[in-house]
C-alpha cells in the first residue's frame, strides 16, 4: 500500500512526464506517440457486464501477474493501483496526465491502473476491456512505443489466459477493437495550419484515408490548443506493422504540411507572427487570473515561438508542462483542495508565473 501511495503522489504532483520531454523524431510538431493494446481474459464477462465480485477477481489476477513480472525484473518496477483507493480529485489528475481515460476515472469497483515511475507504461484494468496496455513516447516514435507495449503484452500473456481466436484475433468488448486490439495515435500540434485556416482541409483528408482525428482529451475537445490526435480506425485484417506504418506515413505528411506553413509565416508574416507569440508569452508570464481555455490557447502560440527559435531559453518539457498545469484538477491538486472556477483561475495564473519564472533566469 505504501508503494502505491508514493508512486501515485509523485505522479499527481508532478506536472512533467517523460513522454513530453521533447525528445524523439519530429518532436517540433509531434508531441507524443501512443500505442494501446486491448486484451481480455478468456470466458470472463467483459467489464460492462461484470458485478463487483467478478471485477475484483480480474483485478486480483492482474495484480498477481504484475507482481510475478516484477519478480523477474524484466522491466522497471510496475505498481498496481486500485482506483477505489484513489481520491476523485487524483483520479481526474490521472486523466489530465493521459494515464487513464475520462471513463476510467468514474468510480466503479475493480477498476485499476498499473504503471511505473516513468509513466511510459500504463495499463487500465477493467475499463471497456479487462486490460488496456498503453505506452506513451515523446515525438513520432510509434515503433518504440509498440515495442514496449508488445513486450508488456508478452509478459502478461505468459501469465494470463487472453481471449484469442485464430480467425478474429484478440477478442474485445466492442467489435471495433477486435483483431490486433491495437489503437495507435500521434498527438500533433498544428498552430501554423490553424493560423492559415487550413486545419480542417488537412484533417478531412486524413479522415478520408481511414484515420480518425480527435482533440487533446478525446472526442469533443477538437481544436483545444491546436492539438489533434490522429489514430487508426481499423484493427482487423492488417498486421500491427501495417497499421503503424500507415499512421506514421500519414503523420509525416501532416507534419510536412504544418512545417511548410510555419516557414511561410516566418517568411511572409514574421512581424505579425512575432507579435502574436510575444503577446501570448507576455500574458502567460504576467496574468493574475487565467482560465484553462486561455492557458491552452496561449500555450499553443508560445510553443510555436519556442519551436521557431523566436522565444529563447525555455526547453520543450517546460513548455509542454503548461498543458498539464492549465488543467483544473491539477491546479486544485497542487493546492490540496477543491476550488471555485474563480479561485482556480487565480491559482492557475500564479502556478504558471512561477513555472515560467524558473526558466527565464
Amino acid at each position: 500500500m505504501r508503494r502505491e501511495g508514493s508512486l501515485l503522489e509523485n505522479i499527481v504532483r508532478r506536472s512533467s512526464s517523460p513522454w513530453m520531454d521533447g525528445s524523439g523524431t519530429m518532436s517540433d510538431v509531434v508531441i507524443s506517440s501512443r500505442v494501446r493494446l486491448a486484451r481480455n481474459l478468456r470466458d470472463v464477462e467483459f467489464p460492462h457486464r461484470m458485478d463487483e465480485k467478478a471485477a475484483g477477481a480480474v483485478l486480483d489476477k492482474v495484480k498477481q501477474a504484475v507482481s510475478d513480472v516484477n519478480a523477474r525484473k524484466a522491466m522497471p518496477e510496475l505498481t498496481c493501483i486500485d482506483l477505489q483507493d484513489v481520491s476523485p480529485l487524483d483520479r481526474q489528475v490521472l486523466v489530465e496526465k493521459h494515464l487513464v481515460s475520462p471513463q476510467h476515472a468514474q468510480p466503479l469497483p475493480g477498476r485499476g491502473l498499473v504503471t511505473r515511475p516513468d509513466e511510459r507504461v500504463s495499463i487500465m484494468v477493467n475499463e471497456e476491456d479487462h486490460l488496456r496496455i498503453q505506452c506513451l513516447y515523446s515525438g513520432l516514435e510509434l515503433d518504440e512505443a509498440y515495442i514496449t507495449a508488445n513486450g508488456m503484452d508478452d509478459l502478461l500473456d505468459e501469465r494470463l489466459d487472453f481471449a484469442y481466436d485464430d480467425r478474429t484475433g484478440f477478442l474485445t468488448a466492442c467489435p471495433t477493437n477486435v483483431g490486433t486490439g491495437l489503437r495507435a495515435s500521434v498527438m500533433v500540434h498544428l498552430p501554423a495550419l490553424a493560423i492559415g485556416d487550413e486545419v480542417s482541409r488537412v484533417l478531412s483528408a486524413v479522415n478520408k484515408v481511414g484515420l480518425v482525428v480527435r482533440g487533446l482529451y478525446g472526442e469533443g475537445t477538437e481544436g483545444q490548443g491546436n492539438v489533434y490526435q490522429v489514430s487508426n480506425q481499423i484493427t482487423l485484417g492488417q498486421t500491427e506493422k501495417e497499421i503503424l506504418e500507415n499512421l506514421s506515413l500519414i503523420a509525416k505528411q501532416v507534419v510536412a504540411e504544418e512545417k511548410r506553413y510555419r516557414e511561410t509565416l516566418m517568411k511572409n508574416r514574421r512581424t505579425a507572427l512575432e507579435d502574436r507569440i510575444f503577446r501570448a508569452w507576455g500574458i502567460l508570464t504576467n496574468a493574475r487570473s487565467m482560465s484553462s481555455e486561455e492557458a491552452v490557447k496561449l500555450w499553443s502560440d508560445v510553443r510555436l515561438g519556442v519551436e521557431l527559435g523566436l522565444i529563447e531559453g525555455p526547453d520543450v518539457t517546460h513548455i509542454n508542462e503548461i498543458l498539464v498545469i492549465a488543467q483544473p484538477h491539477f491546479v486544485m491538486r497542487s493546492h490540496g483542495r477543491t476550488m471555485t472556477p474563480e479561485e482556480r483561475d487565480i491559482a492557475r495564473a500564479e502556478l504558471l508565473r512561477r513555472h515560467l519564472a524558473t526558466m527565464r533566469s
Binding site: 464477462e45 467483459f46 484478440f170
Partner: protein
C-alpha cells in the same frame, strides 16, 4: 462564489449551454449539477461508438431475413447475452459471444474493418501454429497465382514449401 441553484454550497462547476444561439452560463455546486443532470450529460455521451454500432446492428437486422424465434433467443452459454442484447448495447458480453454469434458478427466485422480475418500477432502459446497456418494460406494464394500465370517452376517451389509447413503443423497437432 456560491451555487446559483441552491445558494448554499460553493460553486465548482461552470455549466455553459447554447440554446438557439443564446448562451447561458450557470455556476453550480457538484450536488446541484448532479441533480440537474449536468454531470451525467458531461460524462455519459449519448452519441458514442456503441450507440452508432447499435444503429448499424439494427439496420443489419432489418436488411437480413428476420431471425427465426430460436435464433432470437440464442444466448451465450458463458455470459447469457442474447443477440438482441448485443444489438441494443453495441458491445458483446464476453469473449465466447464471438463464437455464439459468429454468423451475425461476420458481416458486421467486414462492414467495420473491411475484413473478417485477423492478420496480426498471435499469443505466444498459439503463436507457432497460428503463424504457420497464416503463412500457409499466403503460400497457397501465391501458388494459385503462379499456376494461373503458368509459372510452373515457381509453383513447384511453392508446393515444396507448403508441404514442408504442412508436415510440421501435422506433427505439432498430433
Amino acid at each position: 462564489m456560491t451555487c446559483e441553484e441552491c445558494g448554499k454550497n460553493p460553486a465548482t462547476v461552470r455549466f455553459e449551454q447554447v440554446v438557439n444561439g443564446k448562451r447561458t452560463v450557470m455556476n453550480l455546486c457538484a450536488e446541484c449539477a448532479q441533480k440537474k443532470g449536468v454531470l451525467s450529460v458531461l460524462f455519459q455521451p449519448t452519441f458514442s461508438i456503441n450507440s452508432l454500432l447499435s444503429a448499424l446492428l439494427g439496420s443489419q437486422m432489418k436488411g437480413l431475413p428476420a431471425p427465426t424465434p430460436g435464433e432470437e433467443e440464442k444466448r451465450c452459454r458463458i455470459c447469457g447475452m442474447s443477440y438482441r442484447d448485443f444489438a441494443r448495447a453495441g458491445r458483446l458480453g464476453c469473449s465466447r459471444c464471438y463464437e455464439t454469434f459468429e454468423d451475425r458478427l461476420d458481416p458486421l466485422l467486414r462492414r467495420i474493418h473491411g475484413s473478417g480475418r485477423h492478420m496480426g500477432k498471435a499469443p505466444l502459446r498459439v503463436g507457432g501454429a497460428a503463424r504457420a497456418r497464416r503463412e500457409l494460406e499466403d503460400l497457397r494464394r501465391q501458388l494459385a497465382a503462379a499456376v494461373a500465370d503458368e509459372a510452373y517452376e515457381k509453383a513447384a517451389e511453392l508446393r515444396d514449401k507448403i508441404k514442408a509447413i504442412e508436415s510440421t503443423l501435422g506433427r505439432e497437432e498430433e
